[in-house]
Amino acid sequence: MAALAAATVLPIACVWGIGLDAARFAQTASATARGSIAAGAWIAILAAYLAMAEAARRLALRAPARAAVAALAVTPVAILLAAGGLDHLGVIEEYAIKRDVFAEALARHGQIVAASFLPALALGLPLGVLARRSARMRGPLLATLGIVQTIPSIALFGLLMAPLSGLAAAAPWIAALGIRGVGLAPAAIALTLYSLLPIVRNTEAGLAGVSPAAIDAAQGMGMSRRQILIQVELPLALPVILSGLRITLVQAVGLAAVAALIGAGGLGAIMFQGLFADAGDLILLGALPIVALAVAVDVLFRLLASLPTRSAA
């Protein structure tokens, strides 16, 4: 426990120290100069968080407690941020300049993720059920989705550009819907395809893990197949399905960054802008929120999956 406390304090101290340093630097340097975080400081922060994660693991905390620890680690940094303690850090200065662009990019990022997650969910759950029900479909289905996963994201975006722009050119009403070779449409389609595998695979695995005795009893008591699926199988498979959704969302948050390359926008756009302009702080302004978003989704879904599944009696 003491180790955990120490490990929690450590990254906060690191970040705070960096903030103070940056402020000192800003007083002495010119207005256009930026105080960036050097490699040494990154490694110190990383090591501190790793120590914290390890301490939390050793304590074998349950998911809610782990989420609490994560919140504990993040909250002081957030307070420091809000209080202006890091205002002179390059990344924050960039944010101050690009406040509007950033808000738009963040919303766009969420939009890309949602536009791929919802169709993937609507398609993936039934496909997962189908994969469980039909042994003949299971192999080819999972193999196909597995192959999709191995296509590099940039390649898949590129592959979708040509047919989509052709489609938009051939049918104006499709173009009117906003579907073009670049932008949201190819990004959402590609991310949906990537999202299917974890959802389908985990739905199938979750259903496969339901005790045969529970299904036999449900059948023997006169539940229809539909009732068995909705009342017994899906609730019992829920933790595994949720873990599939967690993988999907974390993956989508990351891949949505790459979608900026085909004009989909989002936080990736800021990141690539920084990359092409060789502006490290701009890269961070795009990348750090992506990491934070992915971690937040991860923690949230782990928390959800750990809640006891109850039904309204």
């Binding site: 023997g220 008591m221 539940m223």
Partner: protein, 308 residues
Amino acid sequence: MIEFRNASKSFDGRPVVEDLSLTIAAGTVGVLIGTSGAGKSTALRMVNRLVEPSAGEVRIGGVPVRAFRPEELRRRIGYVIQSVGLFPHWTVERNMATVPRLLGWPRRRIEARIDELLHLLRLDSGELRGRYPHQLSGGQQQRVGVARALAADPDLLLMDEPFGALDPITRAALQDELLRVHRATGKTILFVTHDIDEAIKLGQFVALLDRGRLVQAGPPRELLAAPANDFVRDFVGGEERGLKLLGTETAASRLRRGERVEGEPVPVSLSLNRALALMVVRGVDRLGVVGEEGAPLGALHLADLAHP
């Protein structure tokens, strides 16, 4: 009344049940017994159409089960399995309400029925209703399983090795419980087991299956006293079947009325195999017998155990 009429079932061309004809009278406990793979579970599952016979048919009360929609048929038949099959994500109460809810009973009627069943199966001590299955002992889980099967008050109860996974003491207690519930409700029960002692204790009618075929059927005494062949004799315990035979009777049946014997008396309801064991333990050849109220009734002689 359950009737099997020349019922057969093959899986992938391999016969599991062959030409089974059998009648279990209404209100009795019928036991299907045999080694694993004898086809007894398959036969049981024909009754609620979890298995459809390849040939022949099963009738309940004279009506072929094929005449009912499977779901509707099953909601009218209680079903208990060895691994209990309680739904782990539902409370005891919600589990017990399964069939009544499927039948669309109003909430108040379900509540009242659950109270009744918790009482019948002696589950009303403590707050069991709101617990989840994993919070119960094995014996409690199986009691809930039986209560759940009885929930919609079916006339017929199918039990597939329900007590197989329990320790001997819990199993004996639940067997007594089942007999009590049977006396109280008068349900027709079809019970599958591989344990001959359980079959003798519970069954008014026992059918021994071997590799899908019926070998011998009748009251347990009949199988013990007159095994049809070597397989039956071995299955019912070889020479030890004599002791099991004694187990089917109580002191009342060999009582010498009016005779007095020194030493601690035994109740008239004591089974004869236990009486014999007691004589060996005490080193005596006769025991005093008393009635339910403790009034002396007579004596039991060692010699009478061998010759009725």
